[in-house]
């Protein structure tokens, strides 16, 4: 599966109303650690069809970042059934991201 680009317009459909758990990657082009995390997320999106991976650019979507209390990136927020289940701030290696995503 590809990583889906999410904005305020499709956030509800793609994230809150998703029937699969969602991992939202809040990021920005100028953020070095975000660019390092990106290939890890791309790989996981291929390997984990049971999870939906979405990307949110905080420069374009600052309201989404504010609503979800994101003040540092990269920030991964896991949504299950439309609400936040857990989050991970900062770059982490793939093995730890896998643990964060869980079963």
């Amino acid at each position: 599966m590809n990583v889906i680009k999410v904005t305020a317009e499709n956030f509800e459909t793609e994230v809150l109303k998703s029937d699969k758990p969602v991992v939202a990657d809040f990021n920005a082009d100028w953020c070095g650690p975000c660019q390092m995390l990106k290939p890890v997320i791309d790989e996981l999106a291929e390997e984990r069809p049971d999870v939906k991976f979405v990307s949110i650019n905080i420069d374009d979507q600052d309201d989404l970042a504010y609503e979800h209390n994101v003040s540092s990136i990269p920030c991964l927020v896991k949504f299950v059934g439309g609400s936040e289940a857990s989050r991970s701030v900062g770059f982490k290696p793939k093995s730890e991201i896998i643990k964060f995503i869980g079963g």
Partner: protein, 300 residues
Amino acid sequence: MYDIIVIGAGPAGLTAAIYARRASKTVLVLEAMTYGGQIINTPDIENYPAAPHISGLDFANRLYEQATGLGAEVVFERVTEIKDGTEKTVVTAENTYTAKAVIIATGSQNRKLGIEGERELVGRGVSYCATCDGAFFRNKKVAVMGGGNTALEDALYLADLAETVYLIHRRGEFRGDEATVNALKERQNIKFVLNSTVTKLIADKRLTAIEVTDKNTGAVTKLDVNGLFVAIGRTPENQPFEDLIKLDEAGYIAAGEDCITNVPGIFAAGDNRTKSLRQLVTAAADGAAAATAAVQYISR
């Protein structure tokens, strides 16, 4: 068995790998997070010789490609222990490796305030990097804790974005550059809170306020802020080696410019070593010195 194991894939570690590979030694680099080290947080490096502008990410990518292109092997595992002997054993959570020599280049971490709720609020208002996270606080109130150059530069950077910047410092005057201090004083939206420290974080899903205690009077003041930038220095990551390697009082590895530690065959390079200036260029220089010393040790 490898000739040299390098712990840490930051500028010091990867430079050591380059020098060791060019001396035809086999090299394994072990990295707990990602290659590049803390420089990946820097949007624009302006003080590296012959590279007047390069992003930290580009710098890290080029360094990584250079080291791996020369044949250094990089594995992403966290080192938990080094065992000394005629050959050195390096233990990670997943594996055990052996080498003739080891270079420790684990760098440093941001020093934490050590107050309740700090860890939980990272990314929800508490930050250690103004250039990384400042954009989230446009037209909001923020505080910077610290009195060194990083704190002063953070305050100046944030003053362009935020509505108000409280600069909180535990002393009555700043030890940072006088020019920067003067520039801060000219900013209308920077408020100085001196002889004080942050003693409490107040939050409701995100940081909403902090309490600041005046260490002379004991008076406690509540400041409504959405962001707190902690800039109280850095601390080395030498805990896994402290039983084996001699550290200085501040926890840095006691080694000179030759990067030689108290244990033969174990070398220290970069920000985790006792030194007066911790910069990209000094980290790279350490990598070269440590690799050269390690190569000499192997062929002794």
